[in-house]
């Protein structure tokens, strides 16, 4: 049984789950509505209590949308941050907080971090399993965007070679991220520091020319300006990692004694399995710390998951309260309509028809509210995604998946069952008594 289920395509599984969730609603609807045409009376009820109905629909929409938006947003954030960290197999830094170092090295969040020296870098770069050992040097900025010093191989690796123009070939050249408002051929002077405290005049006289532009990656590196790490060192009056006789050469190998230091080294191993050995080897107490950004993110997701769970509980509580208020509203509204409903019975309408009218009325409100809630949840996730993307440059994409649709369908179906209660209560009231009221 389990094997049969697992062998089904994911879409088929989702459709089956959706169908199962909707089954109670469909069965009740099928039984109650068979052979009847209650729609004109449902429309009459909808119009009679239009403002109350609108309020109920909005209440259902908001409560459903909250839950859906929350799940969609959290998933989008997970996916976006995981994609942004995809190219970062292993990061080696000075010992400290893995989260802080990951945010600084992978997500380019400004942070004061200690440096690795030339010997440490040399040991990493010359390890036989290491294919790329990219020093990352940050601290400068231009127009709010981080200016990051690194090596050409890392730029190629990061962009999968999708670069308009070319990669920097000498000090003083730059490759910009897709979201940077600089064109190839433009020149700029980096500011020292980032944010409001940046000193725009600290590097006066330094001119850096844009020679290439990376394709969009959906990561904070879209808003980064990559320059040779030597340029970063040089503009800060430090040695550039090479002996004088090497002239204008950039990139590895670096001379350990002339290596001014780097906050982090991004390591790409030749083989995937080697990463675990490298992490172990490069984690040296008091000297270096190696970590997988994916693992740090997983820990972060766990915390996010706890928060989401707490918020999901709040969302469910809200939905239950809304459901209770909608049911109460149905009781009240059907009471206001009870003479007409009693008249239907007096005219000879079967009990099932009266139930179909009341239940159909409730379900119409629920369907309208749930559909609106899906749209509302999607819109909320879309807006939040844009805000998060704008603030972090992590491309967060809002999508409504079957998980959200099924959540909404589950709510709809459960409520459709509960809507039978006011429909049944209507029938318990004596017809003659209701006619006389």
């Amino acid at each position: 049984m389990r094997d049969s289920w697992d062998s089904l395509p994911v879409l088929a599984q989702d459709l089956i789950i959706a169908g199962a969730l909707l089954l109670p609603l469909l069965v009740i609807g099928g039984i109650l509505l068979r052979g009847f045409r209650p729609l004109p009376l449902v429309r009459a009820l909808m119009w009679r209590f239009r403002w109350a109905n609108l309020l109920f629909v909005l209440l259902i929409a908001v409560s459903t949308g909250m839950g859906i938006g929350l799940i969609a947003q959290e998933r989008g954030l997970r996916t976006g941050s995981a994609q942004a960290a995809e190219k970062f197999d292993l990061v080696v830094t000075a010992p400290g907080s893995e989260l802080t170092m990951m945010l600084a090295a992978v997500f380019l969040q400004p942070s004061a971090v200690p440096l690795l020296d030339g010997a440490a870098y040399d040991r990493i770069a010359n390890h036989p399993q290491v294919q790329i050992a990219a020093p990352i040097a940050f601290g400068d900025s231009h127009d709010g965007a981080p200016v990051v010093g690194t090596i050409a191989e890392f730029v190629t690796y990061l962009s999968d070679g999708q670069i308009e123009g070319r990669i920097f070939a000498r000090s003083g050249e730059a490759v910009v991220g897709a979201a940077i408002d600089l064109r190839i051929g433009d020149r700029f002077t980096p500011a020292h520091g980032r944010g409001s405290g940046a000193d725009a005049e600290a590097h006066d006289g330094v001119g850096i020319e844009v020679v290439g532009r990376m394709a969009r990656s959906g990561s904070p590196w879209d808003r980064a300006i990559l320059i040779p790490v030597e340029t970063v060192w040089e503009v800060h009056g430090l040695a550039n990692g090479h002996p004088f006789e090497d002239g204008d050469r950039i990139g590895p190998p670096f001379t350990p004694e002339l290596f001014p230091g780097t906050p982090a080294v991004i390591v790409h191993a030749g083989e995937l399995w080697a990463n675990y050995a490298l992490r172990s080897e490069f984690t040296v107490a008091g000297e270096t710390m190696a970590f997988f950004p994916g693992t740090v993110l997983a820990d972060l997701y766990r915390v996010m998951g706890d928060v989401r769970q707490a918020m999901s509980v709040m969302s469910i509580v809200t939905q239950v309260l809304v459901a209770a208020s909608v049911l109460l509203g149905l009781f009240i509204l059907t009471r206001l309509f009870q003479r007409q409903l009693a008249m239907l019975r007096a005219l000879g309408a079967p009990r099932r028809f009266v139930m179909a009218v009341v239940w159909g009325y409730g379900v119409t409100l629920l369907v309208a509210g749930t559909m609106l809630g899906l749209a509302f949840g999607y819109a909320a996730a879309l807006v939040l995604s844009r805000i998060v993307t704008h603030r972090t440059d992590v491309l967060v994409t809002a999508t409504i998946t079957w998980a959200e649709v099924n959540l909404a369908l589950g709510f709809l179906s459960a409520m459709s069952v509960l809507s039978l209660v006011p429909a049944l209560v209507v029938l318990t009231r004596p017809v003659v008594e209701n006619l006389r009221q």
Binding site: G35, R37, R339, L347, G348, L435
Partner: protein, 226 residues
């Protein structure tokens, strides 16, 4: 099809209290009968009993069918197929058109019955001079509304029409016009009418008037139609 009425030892009780007691009463199919009496005498209870809306003891036969012996759902089905009801305050769905109101029974009848009900509803409205169109009955006058209610009661082509104070909510002119149309329609169709009313204009147009006092039929005038 109009049905004859036959009542024997009919009793309606609420707990230990007797609300209505009618010994022997019969009426031929197609009779137009009025019921009058003071408020609280049991007129509406009698009408509810005749329509099968309440439980009764004794024998209450419309033709061969004894309503006293039918279960509630069977009585509902009997009503649906044999009776039209008219209420004092119309009880229309104000958000619907006159055609939708008049054809209301079609919503819960079989597919086969729907088209004839809709046709009869349209014909009834036309015969009673109700303005047609997309206007909802919420904008109608009292007289127009009661005409829609009559069209609704007749749309299923019932043999019996039970009316509770059908002219009470109308002014004299509208009431007289309605009485004229209603009695004309019923006589032309050979249908039975039992109408609870205080309206002397209506009662004098009927074949027979029963007076109910204190839950009993105290007078049966046998007034002939004018």
């Amino acid at each position: 099809m109009a049905l004859p009425l036959e009542i024997k030892d009919l009793e309606v009780r609420a707990g230990t209290r007797t609300l209505l007691k009618v010994g022997d009463l019969s009426a031929p199919a197609g009779a137009l009968i009025g019921i009058r009496g003071p408020s609280g005498a049991g007129k509406s209870t009698f009408l509810h009993a005749l329509s099968g809306l309440i439980e009764v003891r004794g024998r209450l036969c419309w033709g061969e069918v004894d309503l006293a012996r039918l279960r509630p759902e069977r009585r509902t089905a009997f009503r649906a197929h044999n009776m039209g009801l008219i209420f004092q305050d119309f009880l229309l769905f104000e958000e619907l058109s006159p055609q939708a109101n008049a054809g209301l029974s079609g919503l819960f009848r079989t597919r086969h019955d729907r088209a004839p009900i809709a046709t009869r509803a349209a014909e009834g409205l036309a015969r009673l001079g109700v303005p047609q169109g997309n206007r909802t009955v919420g904008s109608f006058s009292g007289g127009e509304r009661q005409r829609v209610a009559i069209a609704r009661a007749l749309a299923t082509d019932p043999g019996l029409l039970l009316a509770d104070e059908p002219t009470a909510s109308l002014d004299r002119r509208a009431a007289d016009a309605l009485i004229e149309d209603l009695t004309g329609l019923l006589r032309a169709g050979g249908k039975t009418l039992i109408a609870v009313s205080h309206d002397a204009h209506l009662l004098e147009r009927l074949d027979r008037v029963l007076t109910i006092e204190d839950g009993k039929v105290t007078d049966d005038t046998g007034v002939q139609a004018a």
